[in-house]
Point group: C2
Chain length 499, copies 2
């Protein structure tokens, strides 16, 4: 097995990363092998001596490589036995169910805003509840100090950032560095093909406004991020929910069928990488089919892609836009989840609707404020962003592993879920008898905020699901909270059974 | 005359401003008297001795008061004769014409975006042209250094501003200080009645989205800020242009007639203070009538009020919202014109549509980024903002006076305009024979950018108007540019006459 790794670990097979030190390059090779399943949980790692010989490196480099892997919780040292690929501390739990492929009718739902408002006003009465209902990582996983320094530098160098109006599409230096970085997502665009937006949600709104009229139908994933359902409601659009798999994302055949039977579908919105809330990542073949299907049907495909760089592994997957040949895909993303939730910086490439989106953005909110953009441009130019992403992914993986173990250990029979391969969300199916609305209320009483499944659909499909997010890098805190939730679910299931 | 002033100058008649030094309070009393016309151009000011006696102040205080008035170009020293109220260096030019009160039909114009795009792509070919077509003051009139320092302080004190998500409605401290300051505009609201927005334009968009459906008609001023026409176009709304006076703003009788004859009007949008481009300020009685008219008709009145604090005088006029008793008025404003064009901070009070506007803002772009809000909150808490506003108003008045003189001296017969009592815009009617589109092109060739009247209407009413804005605190530069424009207009008028 070790030989296989060494052969596969030939650096020339991968995009070279000469900017990284050797120990990091070697650690990344092993990280990839573990991620690929080439090295499996419990496999023995090469001894230090073997590692040094095979890669022609010093003891210091070998030690440092192993240290990186150990800190990333990928390998464990066993006393007097050497290093082993870590066995994730996760007990068995049935995987999430694959979706029923039957389509509900398209619905213009006008209650999601008020459902969310009710939710918000309820949890605001519990300001001290531990938040497992959020959508960003723990604050200490973001590079606060480095961004603060970058902002201080930018302000000193360019004092008029606050008082001079900026260019319409956004800061040119930021757009240039984003265009270069987009190559890693498989996206070939220039700085002029990018418009900066107020977070990814403004980008998605602009995309919808560019290609639809009120009353039109939009195909969305099911379950669907409630923020998208809110945007649809506020724009007077109808949502057609397409079944979506917890492992491979949107069911392409179901979409093909829907496009055939619903000629009023004017757009498709998909989160291809770490779907919210499922956590699914579409395989490349599915991505290619989806883009081709939409291009053939002449339907704009709106890609909401804020989580791509949170997918585990050395090289995050590509965006749908990578397969786009004729401008069918409108690509929307942001730095809210990966870097700086407080800065509200997103961007959009509008494909063949780019000029119209530029006009809508100008008419709606003009250019973004300047300082955040200049700070980001400076930060993204350096290797600090890549280092930060590795640390963020490692931190989230540790949290997910520990939480997955706690879920498996404490939730009652009938619970199902598939741990995602990145990001911060768990989409958990509770036993049929447990309503997530009642669970939400009871959990708040117990000092914990969760997100009930009811707001992830207009069609009432997910009443016994909850979305949990990783609340804190304090693993014991999260572990204890998840166990309390598990006991609560067990009590509620038992109580329902007794009635 | 002087006695009259002294009687009127009783500080108890005005809102006390104890935070200001005495010399400033006295200067403000005289500034107000000059603004009111109580002291007229050419009137003699009291002698220093008389001033000291009458106000019971020292020579130093008296000297300082006069120095403030002299720097603000309100009084002139004449050798061996004393101080006199300044005669503005403005030759006679016919005042702008009052509007024809006939209404055009409501039009869903779908060309304003492309007209603006053509304009933009044309002037982008002349990047070095002097910009008299802009909509913010000269950069050196904004408090760059003070805001920079405030931002550095905020970043050091609160490093997580960039990485932690903020509250939905905006920073609570900023909303609290805005609510306190709104009292000066006659607006009584609390911090919770305010939602921070990305500039005033997002606020106006949200207001329109809250109260209209695509296809509805919105009554607007004529001429109308082209940004509003763009917003209407992008939202699929029709514009009904209501005649608007260069001196008193929207013609209320014409609006009353329109509401009677066009039952499909779903909103009215008005810039009551320093209308863009006219520069008119509605008299209080008109403001009261307008609010009452809309309240009686049950039509939401959207107030776009970014220029209020740029009106000359000690105490800026009140907002329409001051007369609102039942939530009919949606108040929109920003700090883009008065303080910091680069920060893109605006706010909205949605009147009786406030909850719906809150939902739309959340669905469209979530909360504003944090840093700008915290910087503004700190700045607005101090007296620095008031000091800055005085300096900004004084600087703009000097520029307007010099430009008005240059217009009067150099533009051909048939030119008409009314100098506004604040702000940065001149709305100039050229001789009938001069097309503003041709004038725009010819001026660019000559190195000067202006705004042609064609984009201020959907109904093609202002083809021989231009909007000029104050380009620079270098008065000679602006003077020379305006004189070149005048000679150009004269040549074009003569050429048209010869044909």
């Amino acid at each position: 097995m070790t030989e296989t790794i060494l052969n596969r670990a030939d650096p020339s097979a991968e995009r070279p990363t000469d900017s990284q030190p050797l120990y990091r390059q070697l650690a990344d090779q092993y990280r990839r092998a573990i991620g690929n399943g080439v090295l499996r949980p419990g496999d023995r790692m090469p001894s230090m001596r073997a590692f040094m010989q095979r890669h022609g490196v010093s003891l210091a480099t070998a030690t440092e490589s192993y240290r990186v892997l150990e800190r990333a919780a990928l390998i464990d040292a066993r006393p007097r036995a050497g290093y082993f690929v870590r066995v994730p501390p996760q007990a068995a739990l049935p995987a999430a169910a694959e979706p029923d492929l039957a389509l509900p009718g398209a619905a213009q739902f006008v209650g999601i805003h008020s459902a969310i408002s009710t939710l918000v006003s309820t949890y605001q009465r519990y300001p001290h509840a531990l938040n497992l209902g959020g959508a960003t990582a723990s604050p200490d996983l973001y590079p606060t100090g480095a961004l603060q320094k970058a902002a201080l530098r930018a302000l000193r160098a360019r004092p008029t950032l606050l008082t001079a109006a900026g260019p319409d599409q956004g800061d040119p230096a930021l757009r240039a560095v984003i265009a270069r970085r987009a190559l890693a997502a498989g996206i070939q665009i220039g700085a002029d093909d990018i418009i900066m937006t107020h977070g990814g949600i403004e980008a998605v709104n602009l995309a919808l406004r560019a290609v639809t009229q009120p009353g039109d139908t939009v195909a969305v994933e099911s379950p669907c991020f409630f923020g998208l359902l809110q945007a649809l409601e506020s724009l007077g659009l109808r949502a057609l929910e397409i079944p979506t798999s917890p492992s491979t994302g949107l069911a392409i055949e179901a979409l093909a069928f829907a496009l055939h039977t619903h000629p009023d579908i004017k757009a498709v919105v998909v989160v291809p990488n770490l779907q919210n809330p499922l956590g699914s990542v579409m395989p490349d073949a599915h991505k290619a089919s989806l883009v081709e299907l939409c291009a053939r049907a002449g339907i704009p495909l709106i890609e909401d892609d804020p989580y791509r760089e949170l997918v585990d592994g050395v090289q995050p997957p590509r965006s749908l836009k990578a397969w786009d040949t004729d401008g069918t895909v409108i690509h929307c993303t942001s730095f809210n989840k990966t870097l700086a939730p407080g800065m509200r910086v997103g961007w959009i490439n509008g494909g063949r609707w780019h000029p119209r989106i530029g006009m809508l953005k100008f008419a709606q909110s003009r250019h973004n404020e300047q300082l955040s953009q200049v700070v980001l441009a400076g930060f993204l130019e350096t290797s600090a962003y890549e280092r930060h992403l590795r640390r963020l992914r490692d931190g989230l993986r540790l949290q997910r592993e520990r939480m997955a173990a706690a879920v498996a250990a404490s939730f009652p029979d009938g619970t199902r879920f598939t741990p995602p391969c990145g990001g911060m969300f768990f989409w958990i199916e509770l036993p049929r008898e447990v309503s997530s609305a009642a669970f939400f209320d009871a959990a708040l009483e117990d000092g914990i905020r969760v997100m009930p499944g009811t707001v992830f659909s207009n069609a009432g499909r997910f009443d016994h699901f909850i979305r949990l997010s990783c609340p804190s890098t304090d693993l014991d805190l999260a572990d204890e909270a998840v166990r309390r939730l598990g006991r609560l679910a067990a009590r509620m299931a038992a109580h329902a059974f007794k009635r």
